[in-house]
Symmetry: D3
Subunit: 180 residues, 6 copies
């Protein structure tokens, strides 16, 4: 019901319990594609798992610790984007995103991410936004690079993906450098 | 950040902690006017009280029990509207609303209420919406009457307003009768 | 152990965990009869369901929000009666009751209800007591009518009973009008 | 409201929040007398302290762990008696009691204690009841002795009373030996 | 990781989740032996039960209410010892211990208990330590007797062991009498 | 009471409530020195603040999320070291440490950190340990550098220190490269 308009085709909506089925179907339809870079795919076996995830994100929102929203494109749920958490003391946050198979190449993720960075700086008044991507995940890395984030380093073996570790490149943007 | 557009001038936004100051100032500026019919005005002594209220509404939203949103008109917070709770078993809810002094007569409340009734029936799939207003509060009663709600009765001494009881007229609308 | 004596045959006792079996047996023995007007019957499949209900009522009592008690007649558990909640700010409450099949016609329910209304006004010092009954449930409606409650209106489609909605008639009594 | 009748003059009633003032006044009126053997007297400075105590006892009752009740004699609150806890696994409990100054010598405490031991064995089906009293508190020790409890030993420096330790005599009664 | 050295062969370590398997195997290997005097053996059916027990002990430690530690001898987990709780107001505690089959006779339990009594008096500054043992459990009773505890009495039918009650002898030691 | 021995002079002990006074005095004695790089110093105004911190660390330990320990050198509390959290899914953790004024140059911090890295890899079986230090905090950076950690990058404006942001250098060590 509550919408953040990104552009005429794209909007972000806080996940609500009613989105559990749509979220599950989207995940289920892109399993092999998504699990290459996302650790939560195998554990999402039924709509109940998606519902429990959404419940957690609602509690995250209620505790003023950021939020997770669905990305809606042309009226359809195509992915998710949100803040992992908000560190108010240090005025910083970290953004994560994903998009279902077949929806890449439409600029959806870049504009959704740009919109969320705007929210971080302008709406929440934060100072720093971070985006991490696996070193080999070039598609994901292209997003912060396209938005002007600085490559600040590479954290080795930062994440366990089912059966192997991946390194994470850290991209950072500070408020003073962000041009809306 | 997340907005429900009512019309070109009016939108609803879930209350967030950052709205505490604006909410307090609005309340404080209309004290005498608001306290005629609202029991929470005297207890709102500082922005901290408004913040605590907003925190409660966030927890209400996170527990899938409805929400409270600010009414924004021409970029300014002018009032509040929300669901007191959602009774999913019986598929019904109850709406409450208020507007600051000086903003009446612009049709803001009627359109905001209509929008919320749409959300109750179309978005949440509920069957019944109720609106209660003090018998002598003709301004408030005009809203459901204008929207076609049925006057279902009058509950005596339903509410304590600082130093006296008031009766509540009950207005009800069922899904089958609602014309968007 | 703790008893509220209604008359020489009838008393009310706060539900305790030890009553779970008796409560279940009573429910189970009157299923078809009770489910005509009570929504919780089908969900009470084992004594564990009754035990969980009793646990909730104990927590209700411990949070100063009213209580649920068993109605004991001639040493046997025959029904239940209690306050749905207590709204201390507005000094009002709402009473619900039921009786097992075969125990009607003995005046048990009327005297139990009268006793609870006395508790509401004299013991808790409340100002208003409400009783709602489905429009077609004439047996239940007879109780508040017999006790002098005022018919204040009819709320349409107020409750979902397994496969259909029912309207609720609202009966109200205020302290000033109550004659013990 | 819910009463356990001990005899025509004496009854026990679960403490409820509304009893806070009466409980405080009784405590306050017997300070010097009560503090000789009770550790909680000095900490009961206002009715709020009594209210918080009562809230704890309500939660104890709601968690099926025994209860605390007021002793009412000739319509007046004169003391308190209850189970410290109930150990269901080992089917045992421990009783504590006190009476305000000026009410001794009427047999109130002995009959209230006898009533509670009956509740422990008959109502809760427990196997053992224990009563502990400071070695020098002869008045308190007389109660279990009068009721036929066995002196099972003396625990040294069992309790800290403001500025010194006291030893506790342990009295025990088992179900098989209890004559109602 | 954190160790309390008793002697060159023996040390105590706070139970951590990682100890669940070792604790379960030790319990499982001594079932018949342990269940003669310990009530929790039958309920320990899998390592998950041991894990849940450890979780409870961690929460006990975190709430400043004593702790449970494993007894490690020559690098192997051989038993458990800890404080049932700490009564800070009355500055007293109670110790419980057990050892797996085949490890008796090495003085392990006596030195571990001595170490824990030292902790109670010197580290926590308590005034009284109690040890209870079933009247017929002579092995267990030998520990406090060896350490100079006083036999303060016998509580009848204090504990239910699967199918019968046992009496408990109470041994007490006060700080002034303890010689390290 | 529970100790992790680093060397003959140095040991680590889980913070317990009883350490609150010692921790506060140590903090208070080095205020100007510590606040150059630590954000929590100004907020530690009384021993109660230290006590509340310790309570949080106990809950962290109880939830299997790492721990915070005091560094004891020659019998005196000289600093603190611990895991910020443990990410079990990704088998990684992050270490933080500080030492009071006047205790530097004794090799205490390097050996304490080495000991904790050993615990992370050998005891907890983790795969990665991270240490972050402000870019200008050369003393702190020397510790991971001395221990062979790799400089993986620099996160800009990562932390707010009272009135300015500082950048953080990220040092990482993986299990395969760690030589005990």
């Amino acid at each position: 019901m509550f919408v953040h308009t990104v552009n005429s085709d794209t909007s972000l909506k806080l996940f609500e319990i009613r989105d559990a089925d749509a979220l599950f179907r989207l995940t289920d339809a892109s399993r092999a594609y998504l699990r290459e870079w996302l650790p939560w795919v195998d554990g999402t076996r039924t709509a109940e798992d998606s519902r429990m995830f959404i419940q957690l994100t609602l509690e995250q929102f209620a505790s003023n610790n950021g939020f997770q929203s669905g990305i809606w494109w042309k009226g359809q749920l195509v992915g998710g984007i949100g803040f992992h958490n908000i560190d108010w003391s240090n005025r910083k946050t970290s953004i994560g995103y994903w998009i279902g198979q077949g929806f890449q190449g439409n600029g959806i993720m870049t504009s959704a991410t740009r919109a969320l960075v705007d929210v971080a700086f302008d709406y929440y008044g934060l100072n720093r936004v971070e985006i991490r991507a696996a070193k080999e995940n070039h598609r994901s890395r292209a997003i912060p690079e396209r938005l002007g984030f600085l490559n600040e380093g590479c954290v080795r073996q930062a994440e366990w993906l089912y059966d192997h570790f991946v390194d994470h490149v850290i991209y950072g943007m500070v408020s003073a450098e962000w041009t809306t």
